[in-house]
Amino acid sequence: MSAVKRAALTAAMILCASGAHAQDISDAGLLVWGGKLERLEYRFGDEGERVAAYEGDAFVGNDAIKFRWEGEGEYDLDEDVLEDFENQFVAQVPISTFFDAKAGVRFDNPDGPDRVFGVIGLHGLAPQWFEIDADAFLSQEGDISGRIEAEYEGLITQNILLVPSFEAEFGLSRDRATGQGAGLRSIEIGARLSYDLLERNIQPYIGVHYEHLFGGTRGLARAEGGDTETLFAVAGVRLAF
């Protein structure tokens, strides 16, 4: 069966999924879904900045293909500004033992100019248990940009996790309207210490989160009187459904 045919069949099956499949002995009818708010947090900056932020995803599918929503948002509580509001809708297929390829669209609708992007990316688990996301974006303005995220789930005990994370964004060109320069745009480094309150479904955490802008992006932010580097203390909860 060709990959295209299989994907089409799977999509059709997902659309007409019913309880009857659950009684089947076959894995073919096995439909899986899940949702996570990886971060739902309050950030308190080193200069008194207050920000509410979230990052999450939800999916439905099977081993052959998954349809996934990924979203994140940041709300500046001091200025009452929705600084970041991003939603991606992607299809995801396995390409190796530990990695999936994904493709889809991304919508950015913060306060300020909106953008639509095409997305292709990789998601998977690298050796030594690093969870990796690497995405490339092409905006409707023709701007090509990229983002790499890495995260590690460090178990201190069976119930206490320390999750360090790293994210870098870069662009091949400038998008002045959205304040994005060319080259390395920003990095974010975080560490969150969580506790399994209810199984793996509710995990409150505290931590630190550091953002640093670079190059043209830094210049544009400075020109607007924004922060170019901020260290936050964070408190939040990780939720899984």
Binding site: M1, G19, A20, A22, Q23, D24, I25, S26, D27, A28, G29, L30, V32, W33, G34, D63, P94, T97, F98, L125, P127, Q128, W129, G154, L155, I156, T157, Q158, L162, E199, R200, A240
Partner: protein
């Protein structure tokens, strides 16, 4: 179950009548299951989980009316039974399943004896509670004596539904693993082995993205013994000096158990319903879906604990044998959990990709030893000469340090008896009486047990059931199946409708089973006399492995047609 007891009385009255016929009524119902700390809604038979013990007699023609009181389809599979394909109870293979409100009538002759069990083969109803025990009394005198008997059926009941567990595993394969290695474990490794060794070990496992603690995929369950939690303490009464036959059944969805009765030796007389040459042990491991009959002989007027620790030591079932109700004996602490070793990973492609080719030598080396009949390849990859082969199995494996060919050499899973005594090995099992003439297999077939732990997908030869073609056997052939376990999990492989003869080197005395448990990093052989026409399931009996794709349809072609089509009646 009045009808059942009437039928039983009728049977007793009939005595040695030429053909006995018993009629049994079973309803499949939503039930409440008491897990001690919580109660859950599940599925049971005749309003209970586990369902009550069915007692048949060898030679009896049974009629079993199964009424579905659920809102979804159901089915009952008679685990280990040799019966017409239409009576096997696997929806999609043997019949269409039983619709809500409908009754299906199973009719088949009982052609065997021993300890078996029955369970739903639909969705996740078996992990959700739809299981029960079956005793088939032998027509002939059995080659051992006992004064009383008890069924001891063990199940790993979880507070999550089966569907929820599958979803959690598919989303996050280590969702239930609460035995992962932590930073604190790392510090203790550093202090015991030194920082270089501790780091190297972490790197080696991290490179494969696997965990040495991945022994039980699903943890956090309550192990029930005859439906009772460890605190509720199921108790079987005896008078001192009596011989007690305990019919152990592992009806768990996912968990293997190491069973012992401190203070008593256990004489194993039967495995998977078939008598074996008696072997006396201190402890034995029961794979998912296996049955073992043991005889114990308590000579003191005191209570004894039946203690069943899960293989990964995440939970223990407990019951008591006592001269009087209300007594109990000391309950042992669970031993430390085992850790998988690189030996257990030696057949894994990930392990080989990580540059550990050397460990995997056992894999490629196989195969060539076959056919000639002069050499025999053991589970650990060593080749034995004919003479050694013949002698093998006669010695068993006493003591802790004897290698067990059914675990990879250096495996972290190889069990030892808590009291330092004898732990039963597959190598110790020898048929009491061969069921078939010993003959050369007509064909060999390889079944690599494969999977992806991180994605929680399980397969055979790298192909999931949904993508697979049926396996075709010809009626009358003797197929030799070579299981190669390339994964890190232990897979209890179950072929429906025909016996699985485990090749443990005992030749004509090779034991006759219905579940062949294959440890990680090992190659194990079984042979099947293909004598049952029809369509049969062949799968890993771990509920979530089977559902994720470690499953095959076997079609037996040829043979007497009427046997396949007979009794395809529907209620």
């Amino acid at each position: 179950m009045r009808v059942l007891s009437i039928a039983a009385v009728a049977l007793t009255l009939l005595g040695n009548a030429a053909v006995q016929a018993g009629e049994y009524n079973i309803t499949v119902d939503p039930v409440e299951i008491d897990l001690g700390h919580t109660k859950k809604t599940g599925v049971g038979f005749n309003g209970k989980s586990p369902g009550e013990t069915l007692r048949f007699t060898e030679g009896e023609d049974v009629v079993i009316n199964v009424k579905n009181n659920l809102k979804v389809d159901t089915s009952i599979h008679w685990h280990g039974f040799i019966l017409p394909t239409a009576m096997d109870g696997v929806p999609g293979l043997s019949f269409d399943g039983i619709k809500p409100g409908e009754t299906f009538t199973y009719r088949f002759p009982v052609v065997q004896s021993g300890t078996y069990w029955y369970h739903s083969h639909s969705g996740f109803q078996e992990p959700d509670g739809a299981y029960g025990s079956i005793i088939i009394d032998s027509k002939k005198r059995e080659p051992f004596k006992y004064d009383r008997e008890y069924v001891v059926i063990i199940a790993d009941k979880h507070h999550h539904t089966g569907a929820r567990i599958m979803r959690n595993l598919k989303t996050d394969a280590d969702y239930y693993n609460r035995k992962q290695r932590t930073l604190l474990d790392f510090f203790s490794d550093v202090s015991s082995k030194g920082s270089d060794a501790a780091l190297a070990n972490r790197e080696e496992w991290g490179e494969m993205r696997m965990m040495p603690t991945d022994i039980e995929d699903v943890q956090g369950y309550t192990p029930l013994m005859n439906g009772k939690t460890p605190e509720q303490n199921w108790t079987g009464l005896f008078k001192k000096g009596e011989r007690i036959r305990l019919r152990f059944i592992n009806a768990s969805a996912m968990s293997f158990f190491d069973i012992r009765i401190p203070g008593l030796k256990m004489t194993v007389v039967s495995a998977d319903g078939n008598n074996v040459q008696p072997v006396t042990v201190d402890e034995f491991r029961i794979a998912v879906a296996e049955t073992y009959d043991v005889i114990v002989h308590p000579k003191e007027d005191k209570a004894y604990t039946i203690f069943a620790e899960s293989m990964g030591r995440t939970a223990a079932a407990r019951g008591t044998l006592a001269p009087r109700a209300g007594m109990s004996a000391e309950v042992p602490e669970m031993r430390d959990p085992p850790l998988l070793t690189m030996a257990d990973m030696r057949l894994s492609p990930l392990h080989q990709a990580a540059g550990h080719e050397g460990h995997g030598a056992g894999h490629e080396g196989h195969g060539e030893g076959h056919g000639g009949g002069e050499t025999h390849v053991m589970a650990d990859g060593t080749v034995m000469s004919g003479a050694e082969h013949a002698g093998h199995g006669g010695h068993g494996n006493h003591g802790a340090n004897k290698p067990d060919p059914f675990y990879a050499p250096g495996s972290g899973l190889k069990p030892t008896a808590a009291n330092g005594g004898r732990f039963l090995s597959y190598a110790d099992l020898k048929a009491q009486k061969p069921l078939y003439p010993d003959r050369e297999a007509t064909r060999e077939m390889e079944m690599r047990l494969t999977g992806n732990m991180e994605r929680y997908s399980w397969s055979i030869n790298g192909v999931k059931y949904g993508d697979s073609d049926p396996i075709r056997f010809q009626y009358g052939e003797r197929v030799r199946i070579k299981f190669v376990n390339e994964t890190m999990m232990t897979h209890p492989m179950h072929l429906h409708g025909m016996w699985s003869i485990l090749d443990n080197g005992s030749g004509k005395w090779d034991p006759i089973k219905h579940v062949i448990s294959v440890s990680p990093g090992t190659t194990v052989y079984m042979e099947t006399e293909v004598d049952a026409p029809g369509q049969w399931a062949f799968h890993c009996h771990l509920a979530y492995h089977a559902k994720a794709g470690m499953f095959r349809k076997v079609i037996v072609e040829g043979g007497p047609k009427e046997a396949a089509l007979k009794d395809k009646t529907k209620g």
